[in-house]
Symmetry: C2
Subunit: 471 residues, 2 copies
């Protein structure tokens, strides 16, 4: 059906394909204020599924949800020097409220370290209060000059975790637990996106952090997308906001902290990691509709039979939807469900039904086969499991095929045009990162040669810089 | 335990009692920017439970969630004359973004009719697109001069539904479905708060609506709290934003619309409808912790036995928490759980355990009794059901006792000092509403004498104005 050309082909113009699919699958639309975004019901349904799964994992890691104000006094940002330097150029500033000019302007939160830590300083008193583990689901604002739906928007939705710990080891262990057990596990097991984990270079580090850990994925055009980060803040904010506790020896000590977040950017990753020229391909575990039951022609009680199939699928724990729009052409409806990336389509017509069959069409693999009615739920379940596995396998294979070990910076720049360049970290000395950046390539992360994370005492020897062009 | 005086007694100073309990039960704290609020984990857990229940009901009513931008161009608000007049004095205005002065200032949404309806005008084309039923969970900002946590805050969290329909009857039926089946049912069956339903007077109507329907509750000091509203917008916004559709006869027609919302104000209602001098009393269906298992002294394996009890309660679908803080005094912990309004407290000590018993203490009714271990889950379940019923019965009885039929405005003002005054609607003529307002009393809603809602053609005869002092 992709022949009909609803979308610009990926090979012709990947960014335009992205824009087309976000619009035509009804995921999102541009807002009236530059860089803002409307998330439409179909897109928001996917985001809600992501939120529900992540929220469960975050709570299982011990953090509790809370909510802090949107408005932060401008002066708060100035308390941590690197933080204000990093965020000042992107701030939205409220100067008037209730018809009057404000005495002190307030900024719309670009992230909430400053305001949350001003409360940690009240709430953290004794070692018994630690670790203090909080998370919030919120909107944040960072003024974007080159906005792109989901990837870079002036306002976006995210979760941001903020924690305080008694010592550095506990803070590091928690930052890494979130990175591994919450973020990377969710991305792999639910979104079917394999991620490379590593440490950011000093240049790419979060403003105010001592270490930024990151999940980096490869999109289908070979470019990298940062999907989530987990920061060790050291004692930077604890010193700026005076977060101290009385330790077991009765000594007043600064807390050690972390912060971590993933955002609606994950929506962009989902689109670009799996979509093809016919549209989205949603991993079944995140798909709001896992199987659509499409009535080809409503004759001889087909609609009723199809409704019964939906009930059976729902009863089997499969999220289904009934498509009764027989006044729209069959072909147009098929194109629409392919665009929306629904994993399984069940076509129900009078002739098949007479033979006790329906047609099961799979979005991943584009297969079509007759299935006996009695086996429907079991076959759909198997198709969903297969699609989930196939998408992860395909994305993993593509990433590995497009990752190349290189020896030097110029070679890395070349290799990064089509994927990831794996450069020995020792080659990063002497302004090499600047040279990469000038060529449009960045160091996505530093990891060990075997793919594991570097330890705090690791030297550059044995470490690899994963380089790529990036969203 | 209330004797210890952690809270100002309600009879001494109800507003101060409210402030005390919100702080000491760790529900919320003031934000640094005037009128903003930090919702702490315990308070946010209650809000999450409210959201989950309401979201299920809203989706069951056919609406889908979406998300629209926080920032609205100032010019959008001017398109509907009454709307801008109502909201202008409360706006927060962003004048600078990304380090530059903006060409057109943007307002932080005080509500989203204008921005959402600008998209409805694109999305609604044919009668087949109707009804279009959307909802969003979001933060909104209305500058507050006299803020109070949860009740009036500059930023608050809410859901706002926005719908478009083919005709007035369908719009009205949907606005009332939300009022009855979503809002009032949730408030009664989950929050255990009985509400009076009715229509707002012209003066109290939402800015831009043709009719505002409301849920009004009575707090324990006899004052009214507006808990939720559902508006018929007529064709006001459809005309302002050009939302038209081609009807079945091929005629271009303006849509009919509704909007409706409830907010974190519900948290304030929950506190003031049920709380007593010892603190919150949470209806079990909304309590994040339904039963706390409190280890009196950790001797002879008491802690392990208590942990097992928690597992058993969880397995029986009862949300439980284990209190092992034996280094804090028993009395102080009891005061704390009473403050937090946990419905059931199970006290576990070595002596009781030796007899195969624990002590079950109920927050509502303040009873304490020994319970055999084998019966624990069943007894806790019954205690929770009883508490849910008792709170609703108590709130209903209080409201009815403090509602008085009166004949005229002066009598209404007097009766409204201690509750609701039920005044014949015919007595509202000739500036009577102004007289009430000057005396600090407002018309909360108009309903029929039998408690049902007025129909569109009802005259004042047979209608009753429910008057009260209000939050």
């Amino acid at each position: 059906m992709a022949k009909e050309g609803v979308l610009t082909p990926q090979s012709t113009d990947f960014p335009r394909w992205y824009q087309d699919v976000v619009a035509k699958a009804e995921l999102a639309d541009n807002g009236p204020v530059r860089g803002t975004m409307v998330i439409r019901p179909y897109g928001y349904g996917i985001w809600e599924a992501m939120q529900a799964d992540l929220d469960r994992r975050i709570k299982a890691s011990g953090a509790r949800n809370a909510y802090f104000p949107l408005f932060i006094p401008e002066s708060y940002l100035h308390r941590e020097a690197e933080h204000v330097e990093g965020f000042s150029p992107e701030l939205a500033v409220v100067t008037h409220g209730g018809g009057k000019k404000l005495e002190e302007p307030v900024v719309v939160r670009p992230t909430s370290e400053t305001i949350i830590n001003s409360y940690f300083s009240k709430w953290v008193q004794s070692h018994r209060d630690l670790p203090m583990l909080l998370n919030q689901w919120a909107n944040v604002v960072r003024w974007e000059l080159r906005p792109r739906l989901f990837l870079r928007t002036t306002e976006f939705l995210w979760q941001e975790g903020h924690t305080a710990h008694a010592d550095e080891e506990d803070a590091r262990a928690y930052a890494l637990r979130i990175l591994h057990d919450v973020y990377a596990a969710f991305m792999r097991d639910v979104l079917a996106i394999p991620v490379v984990l590593g440490r950011k270079t000093e240049r790419e580090r979060f403003a105010g952090a001592t270490t930024t850990w990151t999940c980096e994925a490869m999109m289908r055009d070979g470019k990298a997308l940062q999907m989530g980060t987990s920061h060790e803040l050291g004692q930077n904010f604890a010193r700026a906001f005076d977060i101290t506790y009385l330790d077991e020896q009765g000594v007043q000590t600064y807390a050690w902290q972390t912060s971590w977040g993933v955002s609606t950017r994950l929506m962009g990753a989902l689109v670009m990691a799996h979509g093809d020229d016919a549209g989205l391909r949603l991993p079944p575990r995140i798909a709001p509709i896992q199987a659509v039951v499409l009535v080809v022609r409503d004759e001889e009680g087909v609609a009723e039979r199809a409704a019964t199939m939906c009930d059976e699928l729902d009863a089997a724990g499969i999220r289904s939807e009934l498509d009764l729009r027989t006044d729209t052409s069959f072909g147009r409806r098929v194109v629409d469900w392919e665009l929306k990336g629904v994993p399984v389509r069940i076509e129900v017509g009078p002739r098949d039904l007479a033979q006790g069959e329906v047609v099961l069409a799979q979005r991943v693999g584009a297969t079509k086969e007759p299935v006996a009615l009695a086996e429907l739920a079991a076959r759909v379940r198997r198709a969903l499991d297969d699609a989930q596995d196939a998408l992860l396998a395909e994305a993993t294979a593509r990433r590995d095929e497009h990752s190349h070990e290189v020896g030097g910076v110029e070679e890395a720049i070349e290799a990064a045009q089509g994927g990831f360049a794996l450069l020995p970290a020792t080659a990063l000395a002497d302004g090499a990162e600047t040279r990469l950046n000038e060529a449009g390539v960045s160091v996505r992360c530093i990891r060990r040669h075997d793919g594991s994370l570097p330890g705090p005492a690791d030297g550059d020897e044995g470490l690899v810089a994963v380089c790529g062009r990036a969203y």
